[in-house]
Subunit: 349 residues, 4 copies
């Protein structure tokens, strides 16, 4: 019953096999190998437009290098208050940009509130040399609370961004869950909705360790290669990351994996909503569930060996917990959690 | 009727004379001159403890270099939401630290609310590698709203800081106004209340362009000299800054200048409070006045040639204005402003 | 006949299997997994002393983060003129340190000349605020020209470093080749010879993509974890790097792999030295061979499909080439190269 | 007999008066004052083309901010080995650029040797992601050895720079001495010879503390204002720097001051060349003299109270000294030094 995070997941056998296959022979280093060279055509096809692709090893690297490409050292990056770029990268965006600011914007279930973004930009002092300058909007898809921005919702935010001269970054650590959950195309959820650069995650959804920075605004690619190298993300044996990414997007594997994760979240939501005293703290649209439960149920689940985090983590009084499902979450684990919760609730009654 | 800011002030003749005097002869460069060499003894006497002193040219430099000395690149600097380090340095603290974060804390009249600081630190994830680490508290004395922290108020905040392992910086761009306004000693308002480093301002209070970083925690001075040089703040003819600072603190000049500025703020407050429809938005303790006035009075003052900023500047609907008095603010200007406001209020009635 | 670099190598099956094994189950993220938790005990045993270990994905990351841990922003890193930290990291050390300088020192076959280091330090202006300050010595083992520093040679350099207050970093991208080639212990070639931090390479010697920063001066570990995170090197699924490192050092695999590579270099050296007009440009001690050949032989080898780089790469007139052997270099490839060279030399005669 | 440096000089009375005058009244802060607003027209007239002007307080700031405007974080700045940007800024260029490299190029009397620059660029690996990328050439005028580049000499270097895509910076800490010494126009020595940005020095030649970054390539001005602010160089009372610069270039004052300094260098050269055993180590073209003298003469001069530095400073065995003359160097001091040297030489004979 491990519902801590999708980053505890095993890797998909197809991806492990692809890595093993790429390991068998010699290959030109630093991305001159066939796996890496095939990425831009494959991603361009996937996104229905020409893109530039930079494989990296971590979401921290993908997000930080991407926003550094879009933001000068004196820039401001606007992101949701709970977004990774604001909250979980130990200042990597500030470091990679050379000292930009990240400003947290109010969000609802992880979606940035348009009025709050407008208000922040209105007060930003654009052009004033005393103030860091608005440069970048970063949205997270699916959000940190398991929601999926619709293209229209994205367009509202990216429209505000455009009017204020901001570039737009999308943190897609769980982009697969958003595509699978919405049934929309990768293009509709990104560049057609105004996104310039995407952190395309694979690690949480079945890769060993692989993310890609996907640039839609190819003209901005000029300096990204150097930032990528200087951050220590240009692998000599780049094929080991590229082979993961290639296998991940081949034949729809990435969406099948995400569909499994999302489906388990739905099963879990259905099961837990029926628990007396339980309520969802946010609609379950992707693979994260936020559920409020009676304290004895929460404590009992933990005693029974279920693994999860309370939410927000830093609030000792909260009775909401976060449950994350994965491509390899089993029916048995979901059923066990739901049944245990029911039993605990009835015992407490 | 110029009430825009104390940074529009003329320079005190004593300070101009000191600069002219220091200009007459040759001197050893880079601080090996008698003016600079005399600073540490003089400031140590002024603060009743051994201090290290680094002259700089701007408040931006003083604040940014000081906090960079107290904060690692992965650190968090806590400051009031309207503090200069958070709001008016175009990201210089982020730059000088190599990518630290500045987190704005709720304040009341520019004083950081202790509970808000405690809450931020409780949620800060100390020791967690994913989160920038609490490193520094920066308080502003007198505050951006013209208030003066008492030693007890400071001790509450610096006590919280100490318990969480933070160093403490004081932005004293208007430190003279705080000392003059409180009647307390420089020591009581700084190191005795838990401050490790002070940006000691002189520019706003009669210098040409001179600030000093005053380090109470001398053991932290190790790297400050290098940061100072690398920021382009080590003047070859350092004596021109040092002579200003020396003249400024000699014979109590700095306090006489600040007393004048503070006294004019009191006269202004007394005069404007009597205007129908007027009210002070904050108690007037130093040399800044925040006063709410009927819109026609505000507009009329501007038409009559009075210079001031609305507050907050970015709020077009506000009917509060900020008035700043200086060492060289004249009785005539104060009287004219007050009389004009009375006249406008009666016309509007 | 691929002799371009050891970074074109395939991965050792044992390492691929270890990764696949670690991929099968869920595991605690960010290094809380058994593979990562086992690294420090295993490396401490290997090095016969307590060490701290930080897995990273690239040599660029290992070198840059390691020297940044040993060097303040105003520091100087002394390295051989052809060392990676000086020459091949696109300024990553300058970036990770926040603006330190890397100064190239004369070397002989890639070994830093002690007198040249002494001379540089004598002229360095230690304590002078106008000059970046000596902070770190970085040596490469085995060297960029395939030599192996003896413990005595290291002790001379690290002794100079200590007398001038420098910390010592070793770039061990080919550390395995040095240990295998010298028959000495890892301890004798590092901390016992005065090394504080080691970039322990595995990628060039049979890993997929894995390096480790090994800290002998554990007291310096304080900030390394944060630098590691901020560089995007803290993998959520850290086990995929750690499993490689664990398998690499288990049961002497790393040395067996390096012995194979070194042995092929010896075979190659023996074969090519017998070619008329050929001479070794440096003694062959590890897995890199620098050989001077008649121009027609070089051209003919390239036409015959042999892959290698001329040396120095940027000199169009050079008739020296670099040949790198790997754990998976075959006898057949070595023999083919040698035979082709003999044939070409006799044709040219 | 103070010949240490021109940075020990007194300030010219005209400049002190201008500062005092600007101190008398209030003025709009942050450069909105008449003194600052007059700078761009005045410098544009002086340089016979439209320029952007940013006043700063130190040469370190002027040089570092200027090159940071011309160089990305992954760039290389080529400068003479003894140039300030390479040698005397404690890594400020590395800091301000966010981690660029400064590469020292061989020079002759402080003039960069064109072939050495060509060779460095040929070996630079332009376009290679592993190598920091050629971005900027920095020349010093007059040079660190008191020479003056002719426009033709500059054109050769800037031509090389242009062909390799480099921008060109001129460190003009002693630009006045070059203009006065050559009799050429400021335009001929800068933009007409291919210079994009100039550090225009005034401090060494009679200002209190004032330098200006003069941008000829105005299109590059976009980000300079933000770098200027973030380095703590945007003074609230900017007029105190601007008034110095305005007085300095008004009515040819700057050239009269430099002519005095240069003339004293000529008198000194003439007098010392006649000393038995003396020889000039470089032709005396501006206000710096490098003269080789018998050891007893050097020691005797120091005993007699003459102040100067040996050269190179870090070579204990050198018998060359550097003598710098200033706008306020007196005939008496020059005569005394020359006479003392003659006396010492005859005593030693």
């Amino acid at each position: 019953m491990d519902f801590r995070s999708d980053n505890v997941a095993s890797a998909a056998p197809e991806i492990v096999d692809a890595v093993a296959e790429s390991a068998r022979t010699t290959a030109t280093p630093y991305g001159g190998d066939p796996w890496t060279e095939g990425l831009e055509p494959a991603f361009s096809e996937l996104f229905e437009t020409e893109v530039k692709v930079f494989p990296v090893m971590t979401g921290t690297a993908a997000n930080s290098i991407a926003v550094a490409t879009l933001t000068p050292p004196w820039g401001v990056i606007y992101a949701g208050r709970a977004a990774h770029v604001e909250n979980d990268e130990c200042g990597a965006p500030e470091f990679m940009t050379g000292g930009a600011k990240v400003t947290g914007i109010d969000e609802r279930f992880g979606k940035i509130v348009p009025d709050a973004l407008e208000a922040a930009l209105a007060a930003a002092g654009t052009g004033e040399v005393h103030w860091s300058q608005p440069a970048c909007l970063s949205v997270t898809q699916s959000t940190e609370m398991g929601q999926i921005y619709t293209p229209d919702e994205l367009a509202v935010l990216t429209g505000i961004a455009r009017r204020h001269g901001l570039a737009v970054h999308m943190d897609g650590a769980r982009f697969a869950n958003a595509v699978a959950g919405s049934g929309l195309s990768p293009a509709d959820l990104t560049w057609r909705a105004g996104v310039d650069a995407l952190s395309f995650g694979a690690t949480k959804n079945g890769a060993l360790a692989a993310e890609a920075i996907v640039l839609f605004d190819c003209a901005r690619a000029g300096d990204l290669a150097f930032r990528h190298k200087r951050a220590g993300q240009l692998l000599s044996k780049m094929r080991f990351v590229s082979a993961q990414l290639a296998a991940y997007i081949a034949d729809g594997l990435w969406l099948r994996l995400a569909e499994r994760a999302n489906a388990q979240a739905q099963r879990l939501a259905a099961g837990l909503e029926a628990v007396p005293g339980a309520s969802l703290a946010a609609p379950a649209e992707a693979n994260e569930l936020f559920v409020t439960l009676p304290r004895p149920v929460i404590d009992g689940l933990a005693e029974a060996g279920a693994l999860f985090y309370s939410w927000p983590e830093t609030d000792p009084a909260t009775t909401t917990i976060r449950l994350v499902t994965r491509h390899d979450t089993t029916d048995a684990d979901v059923d066990a959690l739901v049944e245990t919760a029911h039993r605990l609730a009835s015992e407490a009654a």
